[in-house]
Subunit: 329 residues, 2 copies
């Protein structure tokens, strides 16, 4: 009955179907499906954790799909099995992923050693991230040893991806215009590696950008963030011309080696798992609160009272908490 | 019995005592005090909202105290009454405010038209911010028509201060070294006005910093944040030599005029009050969850299970939520 033996089992058509069913199950909102999904994940968990989890972020147009296709085929040629999952914050609004189009990665998407799954749709970013995180575990249990989580540079999705991967890669264009944006949003600081794509179009601009971003990264590192024996690097490449993809993977492998040898990879994953648990608890608390009948009855009036300055905000908060649960402070 | 008539009443020694008592009451953690404080705030609320709420942030050593003393005395000379409240995140850890020393503002602290209160101590930043926000309402009800909330550039306190004031001012030193830090932390983006203090020490450096910060602010503005008819400005001054303080206040008055005439000041306050309400609800939910007997009993084991990879984080979160409240999703 359980999908677990098929997911863990030999690669092939039966496994692919089991993976797809498993992911569909964990994306379901039905309570009985959720219980089954929890059961399945617990069964799969001992078989997870053996992949390298690579996060890739960049604004639309930076060339993520082209790069991931080139990288994925290169890795498969080396004997890896590659899963690509997407977190697209726009899918939380539109109910459908703009990145869902598998034809973006023409060769990779039909390759038997690759598994590509578009962003789950609907719900909050937290919900979408949770489903993606669980889908990652399914892929790992199925033996995909490189899992790539990609996201567009919108909203808080980079933080979500950095929070579920071993290494976070930021893709930039050779014009330095979006550097400040990445710095401002705190995304640059998350990056273990920055890739300047389309370096073939303007070599001078790419070199300038590389120097600028390198010095920005150095500042962050000086400003005290512990990077665990790794100095964030900047590499140039051209995904379209497939130049620099090997060197990129060498940098990734070096990172993995440094982190694994010091036990930091495991530490990072433990921290991520706990942070994820607490994030989900918070989301659950808020949902329970918002759907509580007493809260729903009181909230509109108290909101209006606070807005109109008839009631202090903290008093309204305490009244709502008391209505929800008499024992809250 | 109620303190409200004394707080609202004529300025003088009796009012000062009533303000101090009121703030002590709302800083108390006793439940009966909290109920009295809520009652008092609700009584005072119709008398609040008439001040201008000015947030001032800057790293230690930037000269906040000297500047606030100069500004406060200048405003009092113009007929204003000035309250200065502090949010010091370090007080949440140490249990005492490093900024609590009133001698920092020698003349202002003893002036009958000024009221200075150090940071509340203990508790979370959210708790400290709440107490400060409520103390601000007390000062407003007492007729202080300029309330200055100052904070050091540590942790998330700038966001808290920007979230309770009409205008957020960032103080910088003439060397541009801390610009990137402010940009990275997202503080620069909060600033309605940037002050370069100690401009007398190195006029060239101050002018360079002014140009750099101006262009950084312009980029943020271009990148789409609606600033409500106001372009963030950068001014130079020397608080110690009392040069530029008048011009600073002119810029503040211009900002206030623009915002008030368009009704945006009121909008900002409404948004702030609602955001504050929701922030307090979240904090209350988390506290109720953490102190629940079932959660406290289960949390250590489930945390260990998640850390050791025996249980998926989302499953653990659901189990904890279910233990806490059987009806949560």
């Amino acid at each position: 009955m359980s999908l677990a033996p098929l997911v863990i089992g030999p690669a092939g058509a039966a496994q692919r179907r089991a993976i797809a069913k498993a992911i569909t199950l964990l994306e379901s909102t039905r309570a009985d499906h959720r219980a089954q999904a929890d059961q399945l994940l617990t069964e799969l968990l001992p078989h997870t954790g053996k992949s390298f989890r690579l996060g890739i972020s960049g604004v639309p147009g930076v060339g993520k799909s082209t790069f991931i296709e080139a990288l994925g085929l290169c890795l498969i040629a080396q004997g890896h099995r590659v899963a690509v999952l997407t977190i697209d914050p726009s899918s939380t609004v539109s109910g459908g992923s703009i990145l869902g189009d598998k034809t973006r990665m023409e060769q990779l998407s039909v390759h038997p050693q690759a598994y590509i799954r578009p962003s789950p749709s609907g719900g909050t970013l937290g919900g979408v991230a949770e489903k993606t995180r669980e889908a990652m575990l399914v892929c790992e249990a199925a033996g995909y040893d490189v899992v790539i989580i990609e996201t567009v540079g919108v909203g808080q999705s980079e933080t979500a991806v950095a929070g579920m991967t071993d290494m976070f890669v930021l893709m930039q264009l050779p014009n330095a215009g979006d550097d400040l944006q990445a710095i401002k949003k705190g995304v640059m600081e998350l990056a273990d590696l920055v890739v300047i794509n389309k370096a073939d179009i303007d070599a001078d601009a790419a070199t300038r950008a590389q120097a600028q971003i390198t010095s920005a990264l150095r500042l962050f590192t000086q400003q005290g963030r512990e990077r665990g024996g790794w100095t964030p690097q900047v590499v140039q490449l051209s995904a379209l011309k497939q130049v620099g993809v090997d060197a990129f993977w060498q940098a990734v492998s070096k990172f993995r080696e440094v982190r694994t040898s010091e036990g930091r990879l495991q530490q990072r994953r433990q921290h991520q798992a706990l942070a994820w648990m607490h994030e989900r608890i918070e989301a659950g608390l808020k949902q329970a609160f918002r759907s509580h009948p007493q809260v729903r009855a009181l909230l509109p009036q108290l909101t209006a009272d606070v807005e109109q300055g008839r009631l202090p905000a903290s008093t309204a908060a305490r009244q709502l908490l008391a209505a929800w649960h008499p024992n809250t402070p």
